[in-house]
């Protein structure tokens, strides 16, 4: 059973100067499972996500990703990052590179793949997210939804075992949210392990295996999506859900 756990987080604490952003959080994510983290802003959910690939250095606690201990050792960090793809709220595409080069550059620089293979992988992934025709465009020429799909393709091109999504639809115009969620749902169906910070309930209900609700740096409640949304145990969860569901 423990073989199927790909992410282990134990007693994670992250202290920013005066603020305890994450306060003793423990989580397990099974291989091929989709975990959705929700919570009010400032609840520490993004920080948990960013600790998984060490974009934030934990103050204390243990993180294991696919058997690798994520600590300050550079070799460990790079080994983990190679297995973990990340999608950001602000897309963070590289504006000086074409879409194709955005998807190619890390394959070439980090994986050392030959140019022809990079190109082939990149085009396959762009196909997968539905915009192969934009390969030679620059990010600024794309809509927000297209940019975010390129960002997903860029992460997938590294063949990650895990994908992290940090509020991937929060910066999008309403009419572009669906195209990104569709890609994410396909990805979930294909068996990718995913940890998503998102408030999209439709996605959570369709794709998530487990929902975690965080508030003030702590996990308040966690469970399967159906029970979570229809019959939350905690009062704080109920208040929060009533606020985001109107």
């Amino acid at each position: 059973m423990s073989d199927d756990i790909i992410i282990i987080i134990e007693h994670l604490v992250k202290q920013f100067k005066t603020l305890r952003a994450v306060d003793d959080v423990s989580l397990r994510v099974g291989r091929g499972k989709v975990l959705v983290i929700i919570g009010p802003s400032g609840s520490g959910k993004s920080t948990v996500l960013r600790c998984i690939n060490h974009l934030e250095t934990p103050t204390s606690g243990l993180i294991m990703v696919d058997g690798i201990h994520v600590d300050a050792k550079a070799s460990h960090i790079n080994a983990v990052r190679a297995e973990v793809g990340m999608v950001f709220q602000q897309f963070n595409l590289f504006p000086h590179l074409t879409v194709l080069d955005n998807v190619c550059i890390a394959q070439r620089v980090v994986r050392g793949r030959p140019a022809e293979e990079c190109r082939r992988v990149a085009l396959t992934q762009l196909e997968r997210v539905g915009i192969p025709e934009k390969a030679s465009a620059y990010p600024s020429q794309l809509s927000g939804g297209q940019q975010q799909r390129v960002a997903i393709a860029r992460a997938l091109a590294m063949n990650p075992k895990i994908m992290l999504f940090d509020e991937p639809t929060s910066a999008l115009a309403p009419e572009m949210i669906k195209e990104v969620l569709d890609v994410m749902q396909d990805l979930a169906r294909s068996g990718m392990t995913m940890v998503c910070v998102t408030h999209e309930m439709g996605f959570a209900r369709n794709a998530a295996d487990e929902i975690v609700f965080m508030d003030k740096g702590k996990i308040v409640e966690q469970g399967d999506p159906e029970t979570f949304y229809t019959n939350p145990r905690e009062e704080r969860t109920r208040v929060f859900l009533s606020q985001i569901l109107h």
Partner: protein, 293 residues
């Protein structure tokens, strides 16, 4: 706005925002000062070429020795490469390349999180920026070079003055360029570095492939401006006896007493060089803002 553009009779003036006729709008865009400068330059050129004395002064300042069949090799157009304008341009360009190289390295050091590297770089920048360039040049030429020569077991004469001033100017301007690079690197959104790192790149790969290409593009106009400044400051090398155009002008004026003609021409040569270059920088800026990505 779009309504006005459809109507060819009226245009909104970019300068005043008023509605004006197309001709007036075009007249507004003409850079009259530049036209005036070009006209004055042409006029000056006419006087230089038609007046025998002015031609002589011009040749003397520019470093041109007219062709003399009795002394081939030391006369003719090639003399411009080894004296006057050739020296000015070569010194400015070499010192600038050195400065940009130093600036890039020190700029990277300034954004480094390693406290030793970071502090050493800050020390260099603060010291150099706090000393006049002329003093720095004298110090490097007459204090640092002899010490270095001594340490290497060489004679001071192994370091020609031209090399000393290039190193001096390069070190001085390196401090300014490093600030430009630092500002450029820090102007790139934090998400760019995070995205690159999240993809598995190490710090240097992310710098090289993601951050620097964007940062350099942003600071190109500032770097260009500093080349113009360097061209002007290269006149300081005349105090070390290097035969740039300022030095040649000084020598010629003091031996002929033609101060007005000589120094007017000297200024004119610098102006021609700097205005041409600044137009080039302006053009570069416009190109970059057009395909801003």
């Amino acid at each position: 706005m779009s309504n006005f553009q459809k109507n060819p009779e009226v245009v909104i003036s970019p300068a005043s925002g008023a509605i004006v006729s197309p001709i007036a709008s075009r007249l507004e865009k003409v850079q009259w000062w530049l036209l005036a400068v070009i006209l004055a330059g042409l006029l000056a050129l006419y006087f230089i070429l038609t007046d025998e004395q002015m031609t002589r002064v011009f040749f003397a300042v520019a470093g041109y020795v007219p062709f003399d069949p009795t002394q081939p090799g030391t006369t003719g157009a090639l003399t411009l490469l080894t004296r006057g304008i050739g020296i000015t341009l070569r010194t400015a360009l070499s010192a600038y390349l050195l400065a940009v190289t130093i600036g890039l390295l020190v700029g990277l050091a300034r954004v480094s999180s390693n406290p030793i590297i970071n502090n050493l770089a800050s020390l260099y920048v603060e010291i150099i920026r706090g000393v006049p360039i002329l003093v720095l040049l004298l110090y490097i030429a007459f204090v640092v070079v002899p010490i270095v020569a001594d340490a290497l077991g060489l004679s001071t004469r192994d370091f020609p003055n031209e090399v000393r001033v290039i190193v001096g100017l390069g070190i001085a301007y390196g401090a300014f360029e490093s600030e430009i690079f630092r500002a450029g690197i820090q102007s790139i959104e934090r998400g760019q570095m995070e995205a690159a790192r999240a993809l598995g790149m190490n710090y240097f790969q992310a710098m090289r492939h993601i951050i620097l290409p964007q940062a350099i593009r942003r600071v190109l106009p500032a770097l260009g401006n500093d080349f113009i400044a360097m061209l002007k400051d290269s006149s300081l090398v005349s105090v070390l006896g290097v035969s740039d155009i300022t030095q040649l002008a000084k020598l010629y004026a003091s031996s002929t007493f033609l101060f007005f003609q000589t120094y007017s021409l000297l200024g004119l040569i610098y102006l021609t060089l700097t205005i041409t270059l600044s137009r080039g920088v302006r053009w570069l800026e416009m190109r970059l803002s057009q395909d801003r990505r």
